[in-house]
Symmetry: C2
Subunit: 218 residues, 2 copies
Amino acid sequence: MGARRKAAASLSSQIHSDLLQKIQRGEIGPEDRLVDIGIAREIGVSRMPVREALLRLANDGYVVGTTRGFVLPTLDRRDVADIFEVRRLIEPRAAANAARDMSDADHDLLRQAVANAEDAVRAHDAGGLALANVRFRQIWIGALANRRLAETISRFADQAQVVRAGTLYQPDTQQIVIQGLRRQYDAYVTRDSMAAHDAMSDFLTSAERAFFSELHRP
Amino acid sequence: MGARRKAAASLSSQIHSDLLQKIQRGEIGPEDRLVDIGIAREIGVSRMPVREALLRLANDGYVVGTTRGFVLPTLDRRDVADIFEVRRLIEPRAAANAARDMSDADHDLLRQAVANAEDAVRAHDAGGLALANVRFRQIWIGALANRRLAETISRFADQAQVVRAGTLYQPDTQQIVIQGLRRQYDAYVTRDSMAAHDAMSDFLTSAERAFFSELHRP
DNA sequence: GCCGGAGAAACGGTATACTGTATCCTGTTC
DNA sequence: GAACAGGATACAGTATACCGTTTCTCCGGC
């Protein structure tokens, strides 16, 4: 057990994973330009595997290609609204499935993630909160039997995450996240599918509202 | 009007579109091996753009890469069930949105697609029915304002289509498709979102049941 | 000082060449 | 005749090189 991840033998796959992780952790800002030849020099490979990784990220919506390097997408209100619409359609039901299928080991991991999130909030560490949030999501998504459903959720949740990383500095947003995680956690450990469904549904509603009410800068 | 498609300037994009179209039309069988260098020679370009197109198709689940060329994925019962689960989550609501947003011009196109489908059934032309079915779907999906939702639906519906192309020879499956198209069409022209929702929901249920009941060969 | 244009630079896209590996095929041995 | 070894083959993957286009910069004219 534990070796869930594929081998990811090829350079392209490794680079893709690395870049994705950096994006998820917020290590790549909106200013950074991802240029194949630059990344290639850094890690000592040629352009091609880097290029393939970037194209794959672009195809999945994680970055957008410009005439001057690949950049994080700038999501306007409409984009974020679209993303939340899809998430509201999928994630509640997926959370219900996860509550049914999750193992005890997963419950422990979830508890750790919640604890990390709480610590991060106490320490006013927005980056740590984002990380714990991503971790929590990866755990319950990993428990899904339907891999296609899992992949679809990951994509959309990550895309929203990139934008929300900025709003995680707001104390009330932090509270929404923490409470959302706690409520979902409770639903998972009790294997209560309906509670998980409702917790996710309510969380998405709160998160979307918080995003739009806190965003008053152009 | 009509120039909905992007420019698709690059060779990779064109090749990707061409291959995708061939897959959707069923022109590529389960036996065919898609090899970059072979396709490249056919159309007179180098391997790279073909390779990028194939990788993109593989990333989206349309093909799978083997050590001996790219091939259509062989979906087992579990895969198909997973796909239908996602579709049931998304498509009914998307159809409801489409009913709200669709233009009169789209209604005309839908009517043509339904007529083509009916002709195909009368002529016992399973390929024509598949084509009309794809066309119908592209029209209502194209009317969606939420592009991310539209892309997600296209992916899953196409994947199922590849498998179902085989079952479209069954007369009762043909009837299910025709009736589904008619009912959806009626909902769209009357701009009845709830009717569109229910029509799509019922259609997916019927289609899934038909698939699993008709498939009794290993 | 500001605008415009020529040239340079940076980057994405494509082509060609090389390498590694899994599959296939042939030949040999028991 | 079956089983295994070793080479041939056919791919994907990676590296390097070239080309076209967009953007930036800097210089000169108004």
